[in-house]
Amino acid sequence: MKPTPDVQRTKTATDPDTLLELEKICISYHNKQVVHDVSLKVKRGEVVALIGPSGAGKSSLLRTVNYLEKPSSGTIRMGDRVISAEARPTRKDLIDLRREVGMVFQGFNLFPHLSALENVMLAQVHSLGRKKEEARERAYKELKHVGLEDYGDRNPSNCSGGQQQRIAIARALAMDPQLMLFDEPTSALDPELGVEVLNTMRRLAKEGMTMLVVTHEMHFAEEVADRVVFMAQGRVVEEGDARSLIREPQHPRTQQFLHAVQDR
């Protein structure tokens, strides 16, 4: 287990390689605390996998990064931006933050009343203020990026789950995010379709995208992630280099979890 760098935390100047820094995040639902004082850093270009049993607080933690989940306390640093739960961020602060962070959900959440291309165009036009033509071109490019250039006119309901998830990835990429969040992106897919999505994510990682991924896919975590963070009961139990953490976990709780998952 890494020593927690308490000394560094008081300094305001962060290391320029760090893109995202979560500091002492606490999250509660209905007075029940689900995340306890978690700190986490993601460097530019790094892929970090968050693993752990259900209810460990992985998704909650991920969702605080773009403030879909409001932490009860703690600070989020994203590049030069600092959002602190104590300082009550305005909606404008959150919008600015969210425009830099792409998010891919477990349930895809494509807009069902729009075609694939329109899904990818919508926020480019109505959030970033791009011209329609520019947005269309970019949307087409991103669909091609995820291997769906022929699917622009399709409605999400006429696409497979794997295709929908790739459209959702294209939709997030079109916003030029500095960081991509993935919240169990393959959990709603059967294994065969999950592979399509994992391959797309693999490609993104190779292209140098900074990614924070909540996943149950241990092979993917080991192969693609630079670093793995293991959480249980709302706390970070162990974190480290992906390969060594998954192959040689140090903490008994991590060992227990990985045994259980890999014995399946």
Partner: protein
């Protein structure tokens, strides 16, 4: 045949009162909805109070209040205007609840996706939520419209010359009560059926349009 001719002269009035009341209600419902969805509890309570008061007073009482009290002492309203205003107020309460249910029926993931993409509140509603919820309002709104069509008969008590008013008059004059009211019932039925069909058809359309595999 003669009965049909006399009674069906009221169709125009029946339809105009219904459509006018509904349209007015659809407009009045918007500010009511905004109050109801306010972030501030006390503001929400105001909306709840308005809706509850409107819904718990019978339509006939509303029409009397508007026609005999407001319509005479405050601003002059003729029968027709009073009926449309009355049904507009009543409809506003029900339609605002239809709007609210439709907005709240849009899955949480849609709101989250729109938020995650950094959409401003206006774009979030205009581009993501309303296009989906507007479709969802069609079936309950059509059902409400049919109810209103029948409730509009109440306007006959303040003298609006609608289907019911003419039926009452004809029945009294001719003594052919049964025939007259069977004809009236048939007219209401014929007016309702197409709207019910729209409701049913739109429900199927919405299911296809908003379905995700």
């Amino acid at each position: 045949m003669e009965v049909l001719q006399v009674v069906s002269a009221g169709i125009g009035t029946t339809l105009l009162i219904t459509i006018g009341g509904f349209a007015l209600g659809a407009i009045f419902a918007v500010p009511l909805l905004m109050l109801r969805r306010s972030a501030y509890r006390p503001v929400q309570w105001i909306a709840v109070a308005i809706v509850e008061v409107i819904r718990s007073v019978p339509p006939i009482v509303w029409l009397f209040v508007i026609y005999y009290i407001i319509g005479v002492d405050v601003i002059r309203l003729d029968t027709f205007q009073a009926a449309i205003l009355g049904f507009g107020i009543i409809s506003a309460a029900y339609i605002s609840e239809i709007y609210r249910a439709a907005i709240e029926a849009v899955p949480r993931g849609q709101w989250e996706a729109a938020d995650a993409l950094g959409l401003e509140r206006y774009s979030l509603y205009r581009r993501v939520i309303l296009p989906q919820s507007l479709l969802l309002t069609i079936p309950p709104a059509a059902t409400f419209f049919i109810g209103l069509l029948k409730d509009s008969a109440v306007a006959s008590v303040i003298g609006a010359a609608d289907v019911t008013f003419l039926s009452l008059q004809t029945a009294r004059n001719s003594g052919e009560g049964l025939t007259v009211f069977i004809v009236a019932a048939a007219i209401y039925l014929v007016l309702s059926v197409p709207i019910a069909a729209i409701a049913r058809g739109s429900a199927a359309f919405i299911e296809r349009k908003l379905a995700i595999a």
